[in-house]
Amino acid sequence: MAKSKPRVKVPKTAKAGEIITIKTLISHKMETGLRKDKKSGELIPRKIINHFKAEFNGTTVFETVMEPAVSSNPYIQFKMKVPESGEVVFTWTDDDGSKYTTKKKIKVG
């Protein structure tokens, strides 16, 4: 796929102390490094998203270290306890060093 496109689903509002569910998906081939090119017979080099992190107002909420066994278009769902209004920042790190980020605001009220 041409570029990696992150999608996140976060409730817009929450009560203080509420535990919410966050869903994330990013388009990425997750090339395992174990596949051979059909034509050349050469191994296709590994290229995966190897790390995912969610931070809330600068503090880490949740991280995942990924290996090639995570499926293409990695989907990760996790929980977060919302202490106050703020912003969740999501960061995916590619083997080639590129980082993909997206943000979502949550309002406590």
Partner: protein
């Protein structure tokens, strides 16, 4: 029309070859660790007790490329008593390590879901590292079917 045995066998043979290309079934590096080695590295050799970990996997996966899994660990998730990390291992994959989830107090609950690749029928194992240094685990068998055909 019924499919005769020869037709079905040929379809099956083709499907196996295709499946091998899609999911990494062949081990390349000779130094790939075993599932036990991956777990031992995570626990530092300590024993993991069965229990407290709830691992959700399908009994039968329609395709090994995308197998949904979810894990949750019983814990108050306080500063003193929380789940630090959960390791996911697939013991029949050429490379058994799958992922490590890292939780914090802000997680509220130690629960996560993802989708993983399984090269064949095997066990999926989740090992939780607690803040007090103890380990808990759960293990589920997942049957991976190989589609007969259909491109």
């Amino acid at each position: 029309m019924r499919l005769n045995r020869r037709q079905v066998l040929i379809l099956g043979a083709g499907a196996t070859a295709v499946a091998a290309a899609g999911v990494p079934t062949m081990s390349i590096a000779a130094d790939d660790p075993t599932a036990q080695q991956v777990i031992d590295k995570f626990t530092g050799g300590a024993a993991a007790t069965s229990g407290r970990v709830d691992l959700g996997t399908p009994e039968i996966a329609e395709n090994g490329n995308t197998v949904p899994i979810q894990v949750s660990v019983e814990s108050p998730m306080t500063t003193d008593d929380h789940v630090a990390e959960v390791l996911i291992v697939a013991d029949g994959n050429p490379r058994p390590d799958v992922a490590v989830f890292k939780f914090t107090e802000l997680s509220g609950e130690a629960a996560a879901s993802t989708r993983i690749r399984l090269a064949k029928t095997q066990n999926v194992i989740a090992v939780a590292k607690m803040s007090d240094g103890s380990f808990f685990m759960a293990k589920n068998a997942v049957k991976v079917t190989i589609g007969g055909c259909g491109g």
